[in-house]
């Protein structure tokens, strides 16, 4: 955005340092911003556009088939349901960005559900200690993966496929003979995942804070750029963006508050997605992750500790998978032999890819996990409302995943022919 919607009208004398080339097409204002965005999409730089369009299509189709789909109760529930797998997807984003994959996230989340339940219920530990132990267990698994990957050069595909099976076994062992452990409904963990909703007034405060924060950081950034004689987003565009966010998110909150509102668990998920987005886009670590995914040899020669980057993404991937497992157990109020099994694994991977993170590495964003899991969960919720069983859910999700990867490949070709990465 920052390239096109520039503030060139104020001072005719000095052209910003980054706009002096005569080959640059000048575009100003909101119209220019839209035209620039259209150009990028034609060039194959799709960003989050396909997934947002997909969500709209899904909403229209299911709403026309069942008018409960867009009810506040169903939407609120859908948001909560998407958090556990969404959490797993968040970690997978990092792994996929480096061009690697983790196929064992489902098993790791299942194992973490089991550890939490056993330590909390059977051993009588404090729930938070149990959660910490489960997440730490996930981190250790990631550490083992990365060491095998770095030292022996085994493809991550194979390592994590082995992990998929191995940790499924460990999960069964941890659960023991019963095979199922219920978490007490009055525990904080279960309440957090099922019953804790943000009070209405606080939701509006959040919306205002987000809009104000967006404007504030945008304005400060623009001022810094103007002082450095670079082009900057005009205050009008910044204000328009913040007002759009205020109205859009405000409307969503108002609508969800007709039902039960927004769960704290979903807030936690969004906060983690924002943190990861910051880490990926605004830190040296994030740039290194993209660099490793783009050209690992170039990254190594640039002095990046490539092994440390691989270790960090594998550990982050399995830790967040473990956190997702904890939340899944809390949401279900139980851990059993099928925790983390079934379609959890592929849903988590599909969500990231549907959200626009490339399987080829080096391209994607933290928000792809957030939006991708909403697509998956919407399909699942819509089909449940239509009383269609998991046979249909598996098939539809599979088709959507294939469409997403096809779109990724087509966009790649288009980028190549338009001279973009």
């Amino acid at each position: 955005m920052t390239d096109t919607d520039t503030d060139t009208g104020t001072t005719a004398a000095a052209v910003a340092t980054d706009l002096q080339d005569e080959r640059l097409r000048r575009r100003t204002g909101v119209k220019g911003a839209l035209a620039g965005g259209l150009d990028r999409i034609r060039g194959g730089d799709l960003g989050l556009v396909p997934v947002i369009l997909g969500l709209v299509v899904i909403a229209i189709v299911f709403q026309s088939l069942n008018q409960n789909f867009l009810s506040s109760a169903n939407l609120g529930n859908l948001l909560m349901e998407s958090v556990p797998v969404g959490m797993i997807s968040l970690g997978l984003v990092c792994v996929l960005l480096t061009g690697q994959i983790d196929l064992s996230v489902g098993s790791v989340s299942g194992l973490s559900s089991a550890i939490t339940a056993v330590l909390f219920v059977n051993q009588g530990m404090s729930p938070w200690l149990a959660v910490a132990a489960a997440v730490a267990g996930g981190a250790i698994i990631g550490l083992v993966y990365s060491q095998v990957f770095i030292r022996f050069g085994v493809p991550s595909f194979v390592i994590t496929l082995a992990g998929l099976l191995a940790f499924m076994g460990v999960q069964l062992k941890v659960l023991g003979k019963d095979g199922s452990i219920n978490l007490p409904f009055d525990s904080g963990l279960v309440r957090f995942a099922q019953l804790d909703f943000v009070p209405g007034w606080l939701s509006y405060v959040f919306v205002v804070a987000i809009a104000a924060g967006l404007f504030g950081t945008g304005w400060l950034g623009a001022r810094e750029r103007r002082l450095a004689k670079l082009s900057a987003t005009s205050t009008a565009v910044l204000a328009a963006r913040s007002v759009a966010v205020l109205i859009g998110f405000g409307a969503v909150v108002w609508y969800l508050d007709r039902g039960r509102g927004i769960g704290w668990m979903f807030v936690l998920f969004v906060v983690l997605a924002l943190l990861l987005n910051y880490a990926l886009t605004r830190t040296g670590w994030g740039k290194s992750v993209y660099a490793v995914g783009g050209n690992v040899e170039a990254a190594r020669r640039a002095g990046i500790n490539v092994n440390a980057i691989y270790t960090s993404v594998f550990v982050l991937g399995t830790s967040l998978a473990a956190a997702g497992g904890v939340l899944a157990a809390a949401r279900l109020a139980a851990a059993n032999q099928s925790s983390g099994g079934g379609d959890v694994n592929l849903n988590a991977i599909a969500a990231v890819v549907i959200g626009g993170t490339s399987l080829f590495g080096g391209r994607g964003s933290a928000f792809s996990a957030l939006l991708g899991i909403l697509v998956i969960q919407s399909i699942s919720s819509g089909l449940t409302l239509l009383n269609l069983d998991s046979a249909y859910r598996f098939t539809v999700t599979g088709v959507v995943l294939l469409l997403a990867v096809m779109l990724d490949s087509v966009a790649r070709k288009s980028r190549a022919s338009h001279g973009r990465a």
Binding site: D21, K287, N295, R300
Partner: protein, 288 residues
């Protein structure tokens, strides 16, 4: 044809980097055997040699990609071990690789500052962009914008970005692996200007090149490698192209002189602009 490597290029300069007895073997293949090399501050050393002479291997030893099998490296009067590219960078040896080693999915600024971001915990994108423009304007780079991925740039533009990146850490020694091979006429001149500017700023420059005019234009000293061994170090002022080519090919009667005789007896020095076996620079490199 072997000559002692004992030229002290200029009085008053001191050696920044000296290699003694550097060898590198890959299995049964000795890519480098017993290489000696010296370069001083404010000196441009051209490293020439036929394909397979070991130039690129030597560059990789200097930049920490390959560890030498034997030999010592002395950098600023201290014996050092260059165990990784990061170590080379910290010492102040910057390398521009032939394949440029850029990340195509990242934009120009991100590539310039890759691995050496300003304020890594909260990237100072403004400072990095300003510094990028400074650097690239200084190199007269013709880039319309810095916020496009490297994949969108032409070969010459990529070369410029790679050279600009090597200068960020204020290195003592800059190693350029065939910097002009893919460049157009104007950009070649710009790169040569840049090499001179580096020398005038007191950098030591090691430049691998196949192009005799480029070597003659900017180099103070020519070091010839042949089949992984030293084959002579000459001050550029006192040496003819024939001598250099003879050192490269290993004989005074070689394919270049024979070709020159066939085509009318002109001296190879005036006729052949390119060293045998070298890649002929592809012609134009206009971004538009």
């Amino acid at each position: 044809m072997r000559q002692p490597a004992a030229e002290a290029p200029e009085a008053g300069t001191r050696g920044v980097l000296s290699l003694r007895g550097i060898s590198k073997t890959f299995g049964a293949v000795a890519a480098l055997a017993d290489i000696d090399l010296d370069v001083s501050a404010g000196e441009v050393l051209a490293l020439v040699g036929d394909n397979g002479a070991g130039k690129s291997t030597l560059v990789k030893v200097l930049s920490g990609v390959h560890a030498p099998t034997a030999g010592t490296i002395t950098f600023q009067d201290e014996q050092v071990t260059i165990s990784s590219p990061a170590v080379a960078q910290r010492l102040g040896i910057a390398t521009v690789y032939q394949d440029l080693a850029l990340c195509e999915n990242l934009n120009v600024i991100e590539n310039l500052f890759l691995g050496q971001e300003i304020r890594p915990t909260r990237l100072n994108s403004v400072a990095m962009e300003v510094r990028s423009w400074e650097l690239l304007r200084q190199l007269s780079a013709k880039l319309p914008t810095l916020r496009i991925p490297i994949a969108s740039l032409s070969g010459g533009q990529r070369q410029t970005v790679a050279i600009a990146r090597s200068l960020l850490g204020d290195p003592k020694v800059v190693v350029l692996d065939e910097p002009t091979a893919a460049l157009g006429v104007a950009q070649t001149a710009e790169v040569l200007n840049l090499v001179e500017r580096l020398r005038d700023n007191g950098h030591a420059v090691i430049m691998i090149s196949h192009s005799m005019p480029d070597v003659r234009a900017v180099a103070d000293t020519v070091a010839v490698l042949r089949l992984g061994r030293n084959n002579g170090v000459f001050p550029v002022r006192d040496v003819s192209n024939e001598d250099i080519i003879a050192a490269i090919t290993g004989a005074t009667d070689n394919v270049v002189t024979r070709r020159a005789e066939r085509s009318g007896g002109a001296a190879p020095g005036t006729k052949s602009d390119t060293v045998p076996g070298g890649d002929t620079p592809p012609g134009e490199d206009d971004p538009s």
